[in-house]
């Protein structure tokens, strides 16, 4: 009985954690390349969820089935969010590239507030019901106590996305350019890499991941509003720091650890303290391993 309850919580934690991980990847990739905490990243995720909501609302009227609608909505949400991420970098961060590090950070916070309010005004501040587009699979019936069909979709999609990202970064031309820029941006320019374009690509990829996360979580919780980006953003940021900011496997690990810790804490102690467990864990890790779980301590130059 007890171990069954634990297993149930563990599965819930994994699902939650994999979503955190998807968003955390965007934070960590951007940080790795331009050492900026993109605080508006959570809002990109929110916009992804909103676009999917609008598109699926329209498409449902045309009479397509749930999965088709979800797929189309996700594709359009990804394109939209990527465009927002690209534009955000052009408008809010690129002009401040040479400025002291605090300036783009403040610009990021400003962009975050702006986007939240923009969606609130353009759409609505109310919670909107996100349609149930993923119907229960029959073969999931025996396991439904632990993992719902939506959860299964989430786990499969996040795993595939992360594999695709790994392949992209390890083996493609763009991925190599991204790694080179991360290791030494000046040298990257000198071997002929257009660093500005690499930065744009990073924002586009990070935003696309956030949009995927937005669509997935909206399908799970069944409701969205213009403020969901804030908490998700903070949690994913926590996950990125937990794993070691700038480190891509670290973001995934951090997301999973955070999701599981939250769910276990909520399940065994009290769900009222869910956020306390998340941020308590962050404080603990930062005290014990300031560079994060997989982060390397910055070497002192002699």
């Amino acid at each position: 009985m007890d171990s069954e309850y634990f297993f149930e919580l563990l599965c819930g934690g994994l699902v939650k954690g994999s979503i955190y991980a998807l968003i955390a990847l965007g934070y960590t990739m951007v940080y790795g390349i331009i050492q900026l905490i993109n605080f508006a990243h959570g809002e990109i995720y929110m916009i992804g969820a909103f676009v999917a909501f609008i598109v699926s609302g329209v498409l449902t009227l045309t009479g397509y089935g749930g999965p088709t609608v979800l797929l189309l909505a996700a594709v359009i949400a990804i394109i939209y969010a990527a465009a927002y991420g690209y534009t955000l970098e052009k408008i809010a961060y690129r002009p401040l590239r040479a400025a002291p590090r605090l300036s783009p950070l403040i610009s990021a916070i400003g962009a975050s507030i702006f986007l939240t309010n923009y969606v609130q005004l353009a759409q609505t501040p109310d919670f909107l019901p996100f349609p149930e587009l993923i119907t229960d699979f029959d073969f999931m019936e025996p396991f439904s106590r632990y993992v719902s069909s939506v959860d299964l979709v989430i786990l499969v999609v996040t795993t595939l996305t992360m594999i695709a990202l790994t392949v992209l970064i390890k083996y493609t031309r763009v991925g190599k350019a991204m790694r080179a820029t991360q290791q030494d941006a000046v040298m990257a320019r000198l071997v002929g890499i257009n660093v500005d374009r690499v930065i744009s690509a990073t924002f586009i990829i990070g935003s696309a991941l956030a949009a995927i996360a937005g669509v997935l979580i909206a399908s799970r919780t069944g409701q969205i509003n213009s403020a969901i980006g804030f908490m998700a953003g903070i949690k994913a940021f926590t996950a990125a720091v937990l794993g070691g900011i700038g480190n891509i496997p670290g973001a995934v690990l951090g997301g999973l650890v955070l999701g599981i810790a939250e769910t276990l804490g909520a399940g065994y102690i009290s769900s009222a303290y869910e956020d306390v467990f998340a941020f308590g864990l962050l404080v603990l890790i930062l005290v014990l391993r300031p560079a994060g779980l997989l982060g390397k301590a910055v070497k002192q130059k002699v």
Binding site: V174, K176, R179, M187, L190, G192
Partner: protein, 266 residues
């Protein structure tokens, strides 16, 4: 006047100020096809700053940097972005080694091919004929360059694990991977033992012949400089004080006073 059209790089009146400090003051020099030209001078003379000005790291305060890329009209490149200058055909190495430490030796070279390839994410996903061909060409060319600098056996090692001399050679090979017509080497022999320096000497001469590049180098090792240079420019306190063949420079009293006489460099 006959050889005028062979000029690859022409620098006139190059001046660079940092705040109130004039690091380079009205420096002129040029390099023609097939030449090995050395830029020497005491520490702090402004040699590396000259490199930074012509490779797009700094934007010069004044003066003209004009490159004559083969087959293209002459172009003034002051303030142009470094990656554009590299794709026009000028590559460089650094005094302190700047490899990508968390990449393999092969990847370090392949990244040099970046500006000569154009495979997009979409090409890679669809495995278009272009992407497959470019990948083959990149790997082939990378191995050719690695063999040239004697690093083909360690292609899959992380570059940070290479011995010092090997890292220097890898840096040169990476610069060559960008297919330059002009190669800038900033103290390539720094920290090398006499044996390694002799090998470097041969390598540089061989590269000029095989890769059809002109070479501009900053170097403190006078033996190396005198051995391989066609012409030498001497700088002191940000100004050009002499130029000529190795023989002329050795006998130039100003140079002896400013440089060779004041501090002996092995």
């Amino acid at each position: 006047m006959v050889m005028e059209s062979n000029k690859l790089l022409e620098v006139t009146g190059l001046t660079m100020d940092f705040g109130g400090l004039r690091a380079i003051d009205q420096v002129d020099f040029s390099i023609s096809a097939g030449e090995i030209v050395a830029l020497i001078g005491p520490n702090g003379a402004g040699k590396t700053t000259v490199f930074n000005c012509i490779t797009g790291i700094y934007e010069p305060t004044a003066g003209d940097v004009v490159i004559h890329a083969p087959g293209l009209a002459p172009r003034r490149i002051n303030g142009m972005r470094a990656n554009r200058i590299t794709s026009l055909g000028m590559a460089r190495t650094f005094q302190n080694i700047r490899l990508f430490p968390a990449m393999t030796v092969l990847e370090n070279i392949m990244i040099g091919r970046h500006c000569r390839t154009s495979t997009t994410i979409l090409d890679a996903i669809l495995r278009t004929r272009k992407s497959v061909r470019e990948r083959h060409e990149t790997i082939e060319e990378s191995y050719r360059l690695l063999a040239k600098v004697g690093l083909a056996e360690v292609a899959n090692e992380f570059s940070a694990n290479l011995a010092y001399g090997a890292q220097r050679r890898l840096e040169i090979a990476r610069a060559l991977a960008t297919a330059p017509f002009l190669l800038l080497l900033d103290e390539p022999a720094a920290g090398m033992n006499p044996q390694e320096t002799r090998e470097l000497d041969e390598l540089i001469v061989r590269i000029r012949a095989d890769e059809q590049v002109a070479i501009l180098l900053i170097e403190h090792d006078m033996k190396l400089v005198m051995n391989i240079s066609d012409r030498i420019y001497v700088m002191e306190y940000g100004k050009g004080i002499a130029q000529g063949t190795p023989r002329e420079i050795k006998e130039n009293p100003r140079v002896i006073e400013a440089y060779l006489g004041e501090e002996v460099h092995a």
